[in-house]
Structures are given as C-alpha cells and as structure tokens.
Symmetry: C2
Subunit: 237 residues, 2 copies
C-alpha cells in the first residue's frame, strides 16, 4: 500500500461513519475495510463486522494503511473502494462545476447537493480529483449518493444533456437568485474558486448573481453553490 494518487483505481474513506455510508450506498464498489489494532470493539464495530460479512467485503487488521492515509489520530476504520463512474441522468437537475480546484470545497458542495436532493454532479475538467480522500471526507459520504460524470468541455456537457434551463452563477450577471424560479431539469453552474466562470457563460441560459454587500469581493464557492441549491429546491422541502 502506498499514498493515494489520483491515477489509482481505488480510493479510501477514512473513519467508520464514512465507511458505513460506503457500505450502505455504494456497496458494489466496496473492496476492503481496514481496521486498526487499537479499535474499540463496541456496538458500531459489531454492526460494521456484520455488514462486511453480509456484503462479502473482507476486513483486514493492519495499522499500516492508517499511517499512510490518515493524519487524524482518532481514525480506526478505513474503507477501500473502486472509483466508480455513474453518469449523470439527463432528465434530472444537475450541479455543474467548471474547473473546481479545491478538494474540500468539492466535497462540501457534494454534501449540500445531496442534502437538497440534487444527486447529479457534472464536472468540467481540468478539475480537482473527485475521489481524493479529502473530497470524500468533506462530502461526509455524500459522494456515495451521487451520480458524477466528467466532461472535457462545457459544449460536451451540453451535447449530452440537451435542452434544459442553464443558470451560470457569475458576479457580472444581472438577474438575482431570488428572482428566478428554476423548473427541473435545470443546471446550476459554478466556476473556479479564484477566477469564476469565463465571460462566455454570460450568454448561456440565464446568468445569475447572489447579491451581496461591497464589504466582500465574493462569497466562498461552496457557500454560493449551497445558497443556490437551497433557493432552487426549497419548495420541495
């Protein structure tokens, strides 16, 4: 076992909570569960053992993966899984991330998207690794609920996903978030953390701004995406 690299076929979720999410919602991709020798064999652990047995996922007692993969002290379980490819559903609403560059942000957006019932995520590359253990951790396991598909350009995305309402979020946009009423299937589109979306997105669908005071330059990316998700879906909750 080595440090995680993007080109690996497998990735890891750190901690028992994430490992439960893996076994519940993406069990077909679970390959192995590593257990640290100093784990407390409590009720949760027994539940984990039972799930692994039922799903035929091998458990391996070894401290080495923890030294390699985990910086945290209180991590006693690691789930290993095959990276999966679940294409987005063209009949559903999507979050589209254009060139996202931070793993924690991507994971946080996955968590909010799953929370607000948008379970399809399109990523326009180049982009940070959607299976980086940091992404997985920030998603709090939401990654296992999502369809995630990568596209090499926004045109490629549009070609596959066809006619739908497009809402690029841009500081230059004129229409305010609380003045739109998206009808599914729609796509909420967000740019890179530092640079936002390129100007050509001003002519894609209806570009939208989340208005804020001049005291800040912009909202943090996962904050903006989550506010948009909340506003777009709040009638469903």
């Amino acid at each position: 076992m080595k440090r995680y690299r993007r080109e690996d076929e497998v990735s890891y979720c750190l901690g028992i909570t994430l490992t439960f999410e893996l076994l519940k919602y993406a069990k077909e991709y679970a390959r192995k569960v590593y257990v640290h020798s100093s784990i407390n064999k409590n009720e949760s652990f027994e539940k984990l053992e039972k799930m692994c047995r039922e799903l035929h996922v091998p458990m391996e007692y070894s401290d080495k993966p923890f030294n390699i993969l985990s910086q945290k002290e209180n991590c006693y379980v690691i789930g290993e899984f095959s990276k999966f490819n679940r294409p987005v559903d063209k009949n559903k609403s999507h979050v589209v991330l254009h060139n996202p560059s931070n793993a924690g942000n991507m994971g946080t957006i996955m968590r909010s998207a799953a929370g607000f019932g948008i379970t399809d995520l399109a990523i326009i590359t180049p982009a940070v690794d959607e299976f980086d253990p940091k992404t997985i951790r920030a998603s709090m396991g939401a990654v296992f609920h999502l369809n995630i598909e990568k596209f090499s350009s926004f045109s490629e995305y549009k070609e596959k996903c066809g006619e739908r309402e497009l809402y690029p979020f841009m500081l230059k946009a004129k229409i305010k978030l609380h003045d739109i009423s998206p009808k599914a299937p729609y796509s909420l589109i967000f740019g890179n953390e530092a640079t936002g979306l390129p100007d050509e997105f001003l002519s894609e669908g209806t570009s939208v701004i989340i208005p804020h005071s001049g005291r800040i330059d912009s909202l943090n990316l996962p904050i903006a995406a989550s506010i948009a998700l909340y506003e777009a879906t709040k009638q469903d909750f």
Copy 2:
C-alpha cells in the same frame, strides 16, 4: 518573533490582500507590515508602501516571520495587528455562534456575514480563537469589518442585548427557514459543529430548521449559517 499563540496581544494576516483589508478597515489596530525579501515590487506593492507611509505603519523587511507564520509559498506580505475589541451594537442584527470549534468555519461565517450586511458577531465561549490567523485567512479580511464580542454564556448575551427576535438553528426545530420573516434587530444563533445547540435553545425565541433530505445528517455549519444569512437579508439586496 514566535509562532502565534492565542494569548498573544497581536495576530497576523497573511498575504497582501488581507493586509490591504487591515489597512483599510481596521487601520487603528495595524502595528507593522512584514515584507519578504523576494517580493515582486509591482504596482500593488507600491500602493502598499504608500498606505503604510500615510498611516505611519512601519514596514520591516525580514524573511523570518514568513518561515514562522506562513505555510504557503506565495506569501510575501504579513500584517501584524493588535487584537481588537469592538462590542456588538445592541440595535443591530447579530450572528451568534455558540461554542464554535473550527477556525476556518468561523472565518467563513465572518465572510458571509459581512457579505450579507450583518456586521455584528457574538461568540459564546468556550470557542475557537476569533483572531487565529486561520480564522483571519478564511474570513478573507471580513474580520476587519465586524464588531466581535465574546460572552461567557447565552444569558449574559441576552442580558446585554435585550429584547430582540431570537432564531436558534436546530435540527429539532419545527419552523422552516423559508417560513420566517425576521425583523431587525434579530439574532441568528448557531451551535457547535459536532453537537449543534443544546436542547434548551428550543425555548429561546423561534427555533428554525433548514430542511434537507435524509441523505445527509446535517449541513456543514458555515453553509447553514450562510443560507440563513442569505434568506434573512435577501430583501435588502
């Protein structure tokens, strides 16, 4: 110069962008600006030099503070400032953080609060350090726009701030965020990242939930706080 410690009288903002925010919005607290020897003396740098001269803030060329305070490679300016105490305004709306434990989260909430025009932050201790350089960085300088006051209990906060609409955000609440219409001055109250608000907050004012699907346990704290800030203030923007 040593590593930053919470008990220090001063703290630091890393990078030229944050240092500009310091000099613009909290200049009375600026003590010194450190400059790295390999800085590129471009237009921004000249602007910084001019501001320091006008404000009588000494500039010191020294690489040592960078080795001690900065993990990032591309940081060439550090602002040193006295920690300040700007009490919250009892006639204004507030964000109240009850026992927050993560510096990055606190900074992100400061950024959203400033963005949505709520410039008063009350912190109920124990809490993470509001002047930790990690908080300052995550705030993107918003910390310099805010009144920030610490209280040792929620009762102490109520005593000082008197009659106002209280909105504790809790998973056990029954009223949905989009069904309330806060009238200023109000307080949006959020609990600790891991434990949320204690149950006794169910009887403080109107407890509120941001409804979400069962796919996640909860929203990330700065996400929840920012969505609440957006919804409470959107008519102002």
